[in-house]
């Protein structure tokens, strides 16, 4: 396959390295150094896609990341990627691309009928219709959704990996064109740590696309050599600065291996996401050429002038042999010359009535025809330009006159001027100002925060000739370094004299008239190509009162496509300004938001994925649980053993077995995850008295006590046992999920409210591995491996002893969450595994049964012990829990005290914790089931409470439940009714909350 539009010489492609690729199933060849777009240009392919709404045929517009049209579905299977801009895809061998948003084929697209009814589909038409009958919307919507969208999502998991990293520098330079290169070299020369980022595959920016560019390339090479020599410099190509956040925090996406093709990256990540903190930022992001808005300006072959130049000069591909250059400024003249030098027949149509004679003279040398004061009135050729008609512009530019001339051509290279890339400045919070000389916005109040200013240099600052760009870059680099306290002297750089014609006198023409009033002929004037928004839509929006630029954007969707209006925004504002008869800055811009170009989700979130997605915390005994067949439950970040099914057991039978075993012989539970806090200092007691509801004054050294913590709303927020270890020394335990919260709670009060108190809190959660032994045989078992005297007089309930267990130092707490004789054995974490193994070994004689959290829940429910977060929910007071016994009547202050006295917290009839016994003892109520005050035919039914915990209790020999029931304590003995979701109605008796060993003798046994 020959590359029909490839030039024999020139460009930065490597003609010795041909690459094959396919587009819509057809094979083509390009070269190393091509983009997918330039390779398609070289092959003369103009029709590349269908538009979003009208399904109009579309081709390339640009050569850079501003491309609105040429969106491709790249690759297939797990590597597929929708909406890829062909201009940003570097060609690799075997690349597979297809067009999007068309069916059945690009050439024949059924959706193209939209184009025929386009008249009925003005901006926002969907707000005005599809309303009848109401029930039909969901059906209409299905079709609308199918028709909308662009490419398709992959449906297989992404095989690639991503890397994210932080970076720091003194000076960050965004853009490696002449301005950026100059800035970076200057800053680096001053000794600054410098980072230089550029989207392109190589540094140089616009210089790469200029003609006769030896001097320019020399400049790029020299600058790069200097930068590469400097170890304080990091140059990142293929790297787009995507976001500019507070305090000079800049994010950037580096495409590390995309250009190698899928699966060819070796061990390297596909992309890398940079999070950069810079002391100073120099923005040298260049500018983007603006299309002219004229009739049917979306036909394939209508391109930005500068893109045509870039394809010729950088890629050695001539987009077409007959080119009409359509412009309102001088910069496109260079493109005309370059095209003509490369063998194209070129005609220039300039909207200005008189063009600078010096510029004109250069055209004459090349025999290029020039039409001054003319404009394109129509474009011929639906799937590709075949000709244009031009007419004379009236003096006011508002209408066309005279006779139409037809010029046949395959390419229209148009330029409406240049828009400085102010995205980064604007994202940083900087203000913009409108400058008539360039008909565009440039940075104004050029600073983010007082403390983190940034500097714009080069064409993003509105300077459109290379030598000025370099001068500005030098100054910006030196200034930035200086603000970091570094300095160097400016070098003398001789002018590059790059072959280019600067903007000249631009005469803005925001909407090129046609023979019909806008919106009334068959022609369409597009300003936003990707979202198919036309000048007529702006007129409609204005007519209907969507005058604010933000309304305009949202009503017409202009600027909301994947290009975010890089080529269209200013045109839209200007057209709106004209309609309203106000200036462009009065209309104002919409808000620039990150990212600058769309950002791969995997790159942002991909590093902390899979096993690095939220740490999985395991106890020191984890391996033992695994080896013994445990199923695990997620509690906070922790993996806790949930139950230990034996062969063929389901959860229910395992839990029933474990629950019985604990009360019959002995069971062991890994309790290492409970939060533990060491509290010391002479005011430690004061703190404890403040954070718990009960009295702690009389707690003896070596004794333990249960406590409830309230927040200042008076609601229970954690509970646990605290033990007095010494005169001013306590060991507090918290719930597993509450550990960090409680620690922070204590510190907050201590540091902010009572800084003069002498109390030190230290988390010791991971210092200790904890096994809880529970059951009638617990004492005997433990005694067989400890030197602590476990005699019940010597070591009574609610005390702690130190000694050794299984030969290792241990603190043993005689506390119980099961109502059985129970020991919580704490050993330094490194002995955790040893401890569980020793217990298992010694336990063989005693039918020791390992049990998990589920059994623990049943056991505690049998005793009516609450679980904070299950039986309470953050709206529950101690009184609601029927726990008045734990609330001190004598303490003057503790956290949450006052709140309990409020009108509503004191009111009668609040939900209170009770037991529920179903009429049929085999029926286990679903947790969350509600108690109704009255059974009605169908909901709604008034409810008076709900089940918080519910289990089959083998020890009670029946089902048991805990519930929060309005005025529950007074209702004990009543029969209440529960209505389940499936319609079942269940009766249950309100009972006490203790179901087993009501007298509580076992625990002291």
């Amino acid at each position: 396959m020959t590359q029909s539009n490839r030039l024999d010489n020139g460009g930065r492609i490597d003609r010795s390295k041909p690459l094959t690729f396919t587009f819509d199933g057809k094979q083509y060849t390009g070269y190393q150094g091509d983009t997918l777009a330039s390779a398609l240009v070289a092959n003369g392919v103009r029709l590349l896609g269908r538009s979003f709404k009208y399904h109009r045929p579309r081709g390339l517009i640009a050569a850079g990341s501003e491309e609105p049209n040429a969106l491709m579905q790249l690759e297939t299977g797990p590597y597929t990627e929708p909406n890829t801009r062909a201009t940003c895809v570097e060609l690799y061998d075997g690349l597979v691309a297809s067009s999007q948003n068309r069916w059945p084929s690009l050439n024949f697209d059924v959706g193209g009928v939209n184009s025929l009814v386009a008249r009925f589909l003005p901006a926002g038409f969907y707000y005005k219709t599809f309303m009848w009958p109401a029930s039909m919307w969901m059906t209409y919507e299905k079709f609308i959704r199918k028709a909308a969208g662009l490419g398709v999502s992959p449906v297989e998991n992404d095989p690639d990996v991503y890397h994210g990293t932080y970076a720091h520098c003194d000076v960050l330079v965004i853009g490696a064109g002449p301005a950026g290169l100059a800035a970076a070299t200057m800053a680096a020369g001053s000794g600054a740590r410098v980072m230089l980022l550029d989207e392109g595959s190589e540094p140089g920016g616009s210089l790469l696309g200029t003609s006769k560019n030896t001097a320019a390339l020399e400049f790029v090479k020299n600058s790069m050599q200097e930068l590469e020599r400097n170890e304080n410099v990091r140059v990142l190509t293929r790297t787009t600065a995507t976001g500019y956040y507070d305090y000079n925090y800049i994010t950037a996406l580096e495409k590390v291996t995309d250009h190698l093709g899928p699966g060819n990256g070796g061990s390297l990540p596909r992309q890398r996401f940079w999070k950069i903190r810079a002391k100073q930022v120099v923005i040298a992001a260049g500018s983007i050429e603006r299309p002219l808005v004229f009739a049917d300006n979306d036909r394939p072959g209508v391109m930005l002038a500068n893109a045509v130049g870039t394809y010729i000069n950088q890629y050695g591909a001539l987009p077409g042999k007959d080119i009409v250059v359509f412009t309102n400024n001088d910069s496109a003249y260079q493109v005309a010359l370059d095209a003509s030098d490369n063998g194209a027949v070129v005609t220039v149509v300039d909207t200005r009535s008189s063009v600078d004679p010096a510029v004109k003279a250069r055209l004459e040398q090349n025999n290029i025809r020039l039409f001054e004061g003319h404009a394109i009135s129509s474009v011929q050729g639906a799937k590709g330009v075949t000709a244009v008609r031009i007419m004379e512009l009236s003096a006011d530019g508002d209408s066309l006159q005279g006779q139409a001339w037809e010029i046949s051509c395959s390419i229209v290279a148009n330029s409406g001027g240049w828009t400085p890339s102010c995205h980064m400045v604007s994202q940083s919070g900087g203000k913009l100002k409108y400058v008539d000389e360039i008909a565009g916005f440039i940075p104004d109040d050029n600073r983010q925060k007082k403390s983190c200013p940034n500097i714009s240099a080069g064409s993003c600052n509105g300077s459109f000739d290379t030598d000025t760009c370099i001068t500005e870059g030098i100054k910006a680099g030196l200034d930035a370094a200086q603000r970091c306290g570094l300095s160097a002297s400016a070098p003398s750089i001789s002018n590059l004299n790059v072959s280019e014609i600067p903007l000249g006198d631009i005469s803005p023409i925001w909407l090129v008239p046609t023979t019909h009033p806008v919106g009334e002929g068959s022609a369409k004037h597009f300003h936003d190509f990707q979202n198919d928004v036309t000048a007529a839509d702006i007129h409609l929006a204005a007519r209907e009162g969507f005058l604010s630029v933000e309304h305009l954007k949202r009503y017409t969707t202009t600027g909301m496509a994947t290009d975010q209006g890089k080529t269209s925004n200013l045109n839209a504002l200007a057209i709106m300004a004209n309609i309203q008869g106000v200036s462009i800055p009065e209309v104002g811009t919409t808000t620039f938001r990150p990212p600058y170009t769309p950002l791969t989700l995997g790159a942002v979130g991909g590093q902390e994925s899979r096993e690095l997605f939220i740490q999985e915390r395991q106890t020191p005994m984890h391996e033992w649980h695994v080896a013994n067949g445990a199923k695990f439950e997620d509690v906070g970040d922790w993996k806790r053993a949930w139950y230990y099914p034996k062969d063929g057991e389901d959860m229910h039978s395992a839990v029933q077995r474990e629950t019985l075993a604990v009360r019959e012989s002995v069971g062991m539970l890994d309790a290492s995850t409970l939060g533990k806090i060491d509290i010391q200092g002479k005011d430690a007691l004061k703190l404890i008295e403040m954070v718990y509801t009960n009295n702690w004054q009389k707690l003896a050294i070596g004794s333990c006590r249960y406590g409830l913590m309230l927040n200042e709303h008076g609601m229970i927020f954690d509970d646990g046992v605290t033990t007095r270890l010494g005169e001013n020394h306590y060991h507090m335990t918290t719930t597993t999920g509450g550990a960090a919260r409680v620690m922070s709670w204590l510190e907050e009060w201590l540091q902010t409210e009572w800084p003069e108190w002498e109390v030190y809190c230290t988390s010791v959660t991971e210092q200790w591995a904890v096994m809880a032994l529970n059951g009638p045989k617990a004492r005997e078992l433990l005694q067989s491996i400890t030197d602590i005297d476990l005699d019940k007089e010597a070591f009574p309930f609610m005390t702690m002893r130190e000694g050794t267990v299984a030969g290792v130092p241990a603190r043993v707490f005689r506390i119980s969450f099961t109502g059985e004789v129970s020991y919580e054995i704490n050993v330094p974490a490194r002995y955790g595994k040893h401890l569980i193994e020793a217990l298992a070994e010694a336990g063989k004689k005693y039918d020791l049964c390992p049990y998990g959290t589920e059994t623990m829940h049943v056991l505690r429910a049998e005793k009516g012990f609450i679980i904070v977060g299950q039986d309470t929910d953050g709206t529950v007071t101690p009184h609601d829990m029927d726990m008045d016994w734990i609330v001190s009547k004598t303490k003057e202050e503790y956290l949450g005290n006052r709140a309990q006295e409020r009108v509503d917290t004191k009111r009668e009839g609040r939900p209170q914790l009770v037991g529920l016994l179903t009429e049929d003892p085999t029926v286990v109520l679903p947790e969350g089931a509600h108690i109704v005050s009255e059974v009605l035919e169908a909901p709604p039914m008034p409810t008076i409470g709900h089940v918080t915990s519910s289990y089959m209790s083998p020890n009670a020999g029946r089902s048991i439940a805990l519930a929060l029931l309005q005025d529950g304590i007074n209702r004990k003995g009543d029969v209440v009714t529960l209505c389940l979701m499936n319609g079942d109605v269940i009766k249950a008796t309100v009972s006490d909350t203790v179901f087993v060993d009501v007298e509580g003798v076992r625990v002291r046994g």
Binding site: Y245, D246, Y247, Y249, R277, G429, K449, K450, S451, E712, H713, S744, E747, E748, Q751, T752, E753, P755, E892, E893, N897, R898, A899, E901, R902, V903
Partner: protein, 97 residues
């Protein structure tokens, strides 16, 4: 993404910190004497200014110290950070709150 100046550790990335709302709201003493309204005021009602705000931060991934900050809630810019026991730095010229 702010840089927060921990009065102990110096400038650090925002993600090392957590913010805990308005500062300088002392817990009332003798709470039993307060009316429900006074108590509600203390627990729930906040000045929430559009402008300068004094607030509490915690260097949670660092020295675990709480400290106060004076920050503008429109520009999000910090004016100062200061230790709990330090005097309040003044609101910049022309500012209010």
């Amino acid at each position: 993404m702010f840089i927060v100046n921990c009065p102990y550790c110096g400038d650090r990335d925002q993600t090392e910190f957590s913010c805990h709302g308005e500062a300088h709201i002392p817990r009332p003493t003798e709470t039993a004497k307060l009316t429900d309204d006074e108590w509600g005021e203390y627990v729930f009602f906040r000045s929430n200014p559009k402008g300068y705000h004094r607030e509490r931060w915690l260097h949670v991934h660092g020295c675990r110290r709480w400290f106060n900050a004076l920050r503008h809630t429109v520009t999000d810019e910090f004016v100062a950070t200061y230790k709990i026991e330090d005097p309040r730095p003044p609101i910049p010229e022309g500012g209010q709150s």
